[in-house]
């Protein structure tokens, strides 16, 4: 370590690894991880969401898991709630759809209409 620049670089790198512990206020993505969700592949969905956010460098959106949302025939389901916007529940969210939702809805601000089950809270 020879300079402040190097110190800043380590800080930025480590912050990524500590990202899960930071308070996030731009939005929240809930992945339903009930038994049916997991059976339908919710775990891959969860990992895809996290991976895509990471690739895009989005660090102010929290990803959490929940139990069953009660929409078993449309699993895996996720709920995207961006700040100051009504939340949106998506169904049939596989790996590819998860990445698309992150790109279009979270980053682009455009709801992916064809995957929507419901707008607003359940």
């Amino acid at each position: 370590m020879k300079s402040l620049e190097e110190l800043k670089r380590i800080k930025e790198e480590t912050l990524k690894a500590m990202d899960l512990r930071q308070a996030k206020d731009r939005g929240k993505i809930v992945v339903a991880m009930g038994t049916c969700g997991i059976a339908a592949g919710a775990k891959d969905t969860l990992m895809a969401v996290i991976d895509e956010l990471d690739k895009a460098g989005v660090h102010d959106v929290q990803v959490v898991q929940s139990g069953c949302m009660g929409l078993c025939d449309r699993e895996p389901t996720i709920e995207v709630s961006m700040k100051d916007q009504p939340s949106v529940i998506y169904g049939d969210v596989d790996d590819a759809n998860a990445r698309r939702i992150v790109r279009e809805h979270v980053q682009g601000g455009q709801v992916v209409a064809e995957l929507v089950i419901k707008r607003g809270n359940l």
Binding site: M1, L4, L7, A17, I50, V64, Q65
Partner: protein, 594 residues
């Protein structure tokens, strides 16, 4: 790819409550469910709520699980992490309602605190220097090297930071004196000999955030022109020593210690010195002798350590909590530091809340917080519906703050007016069952034990005071004993060599001042109102209530109880050893304790 992080509190109390076995179970469960690569386990420093340990926090949600045991830890993985269902049985139950708190932010023990010194404790992995850096660690050092020694000292002076070790001496003045002193080499010392029984703030900082102390010591070394630092830690804190050693190694690897730190041309390194169980070594001159490898005996001041300290050279000595305050002051400025606390005692203070209080543990609050907020709002009040009687501050050097002063803002100066001291932050809560005479005697016994013997007032005087206290609690006190205690106490205060002796009479004088009736009851009525002094107790049978079940007679270890079956029993007072076993065994409330 990590999707969840589990933070497990690995502070002293949680380890005692079985943190290691909980961790083992969690590791095993993660593997069993095949998610060991997606979930990371991190052991942190003390999260403060010692009474709720072991504690596990699940991120990103921040779900706060308390009193986790190896038996009930499994569902944190199988339910929460696999199925996304919160394990509600392990959540904290709010004391005033039936609801449970999901996160730390919903628990009043946490929400009323302001974490500055403890900013990283329970948040980062204390063994990871990278996580410390991520939380702005070593940026204070970077700033310090940039602005230079004079500006550093000026910032510390403007911040109004006062020594957190007890007396509250302005830190900036100490730093300036060490800088201005002629003589070389100079030394920087950290006093981690936290000897006050009931105090564990410094232990938690050293265990939970060791780099904060290291960084501050490097800054101090640069400011006063020293190349060597010593951290003096009690031998009773092996975990603190271990984590400090790791931290020092990492700091050397990263170039925060050693030669040419951050390319500035400044060289500095730190050694650990381990105490060996002598309370007096918390006194700065005694501590310096101990670092030199000698008997830890204090010397008269002046000369102060800043002029002639370690090996007779100029030495800057501050305690752990004081150092931990320094890096954020450099980063955020003096104004920021003054934004909380009182005008003359700015900043926060860490207290170790212990004794008769619901939520024991480590709390950090702004200076000027009232005792009521500490004991009732954060501490959750007194267990078992008992009445609050007082709070002992400053350990064996301090005194009592009584219920009358619950609403007084606590800072260095306000507690001094009550005849006690802030001390290092031990706050022992006493309830109606604690006898103040007994508590004062307890502290005096401690000082008698720990007096180093160098000066007569402390060595002999405390012993004489102790004998009088013993006489009083044995029921053999005489009316002029209180006067004798006061006179003797004043002499010891005024003539002892070091702080240990000068403050040794405080617990007695303080309890005489606030609880004179209790002393009189012991001396004149031969009674202990709190039923704590064994020799002043009598046990007797209330014959109307006694059904003659013989339980007490069978339990009595000295056969002092006689009586026929189904007839009222009698206790022979001459034989009774006042062990209280009859009182505990009686199911009819027929034993009277008075």
């Amino acid at each position: 790819m990590i999707r969840n992080q589990l933070l497990i509190c690995a502070g002293g109390a949680c380890i005692t409550s079985g943190e290691k076995s909980v961790k083992d179970v969690l590791v095993e469960e993660l593997a069993k469910n095949g998610i060991q690569d997606e979930v990371q386990i991190i052991e942190t420093g003390c999260m403060g709520a010692c009474d709720l340990g072991p504690i596990v926090v699940v991120y990103p949600e921040g779900t706060f699980y308390q009193k986790v045991t190896p038996q009930n830890a499994g569902p944190i993985v199988s339910e929460h992490l696999v199925k996304g269902r919160v394990v509600s049985g392990l959540l904290y139950r709010q004391p005033t309602s039936e609801t449970r708190a999901q996160t730390r932010e919903e628990i009043s023990f946490y929400t009323l605190q302001v974490k500055r010194v403890l900013r990283n404790c329970g948040v980062i992995d204390p063994l990871s220097i990278e996580e410390y850096i991520a939380r702005d660690g070593y940026f204070g050092l970077g700033k310090a090297l940039e602005i230079g020694p004079d500006a550093i000292i000026q910032t510390i002076q403007e911040s109004g930071l006062r020594g957190r070790g007890g007396a509250g001496f302005p830190t900036g003045i100490k730093w300036k004196a060490a800088r201005d002193a002629s003589g070389s080499p100079k030394y920087v010392v950290c006093n981690g000999d936290e000897g006050d029984p009931g105090a564990f703030m410094d232990r938690s900082v050293l265990e939970g955030d060791p780099h904060s102390v290291i960084e501050a010591m490097v800054i101090a070394g640069f400011a006063i022109g020293a190349a060597t630092g010593y951290v003096y830690v009690r031998a009773e804190y092996p975990l603190a020593i271990e984590r400090l050693e790791v931290a020092l190694t990492r700091a050397r690897e990263y170039g925060f210690l050693g030669r040419n730190i951050l390319g500035s041309g400044f060289d500095f390194d730190i050694e650990i010195r381990i105490g060996a169980g002598a309370f007096v070594c918390g006194e700065e001159t005694a501590l310096l002798r101990s670092i030199e490898g000698k008997r830890g005996m204090p010397s008269a001041k002046p000369p102060f350590p800043a002029q002639a300290g370690l090996w007779g050279k100029p030495t800057l000595i501050n305690n752990v909590e004081t150092y931990a305050n320094v890096p954020p002051i450099l980063i955020n400025g003096a104004e920021w530091f003054r934004s909380v606390g009182t005008a003359k005692s700015p900043g926060t203070k860490v207290f170790a809340l212990a004794g008769k209080v619901q939520n024991t543990g480590l709390v950090e609050v702004p200076m000027g917080t009232t005792l009521r907020e500490l004991v009732f709002d954060i501490g959750g009040g007194i267990p078992g519906g008992k009445a609050f009687k007082g709070a002992q501050t400053g350990g064996p050097s301090g005194g009592i703050i009584t219920a009358d002063y619950l609403d007084m803002p606590i800072d260095f100066d306000s507690v001094k007016e009550l005849g006690t001291i802030m001390g290092s932050g031990g706050l022992i809560i006493l309830d109606e069952d604690n006898c103040m005479v007994d508590v004062a005697k307890f502290y005096l016994a401690f000082t008698v034990d720990e007096s180093c013997g160098k000066c007569t007032p402390c060595r002999e005087g405390t012993k004489q005071m102790y004998q009088i206290m013993e006489r009083i609690t044995d029921g053999k006190g005489t009316p002029n004993d209180i006067g004798k205690l006061k006179t003797l106490g004043r002499v010891i205060q005024q003539t002892s060599l070091c702080g240990l002796g000068q403050s040794a009479p405080n617990p007695v004088l303080s309890t005489i001042r606030f609880f004179p009736d209790e002393y009189r009851a012991h001396i004149e009525d031969r009674k202990c109102p709190a039923h704590a002094c064994l020799h002043l107790l009598t046990y007797s049978v209330v014959s109307e209530k006694c059904v003659g079940c013989t339980a007490c007679a069978r339990q009595c270890p000295v056969q002092a109880i006689t009586g026929q079956v189904k007839k009222a029993h009698v206790i022979d007072q001459a034989t009774c050893i006042k062990c209280g076993s009859c009182y505990e065994v009686c199911r009819f409330d027929a034993i009277l304790k008075e």
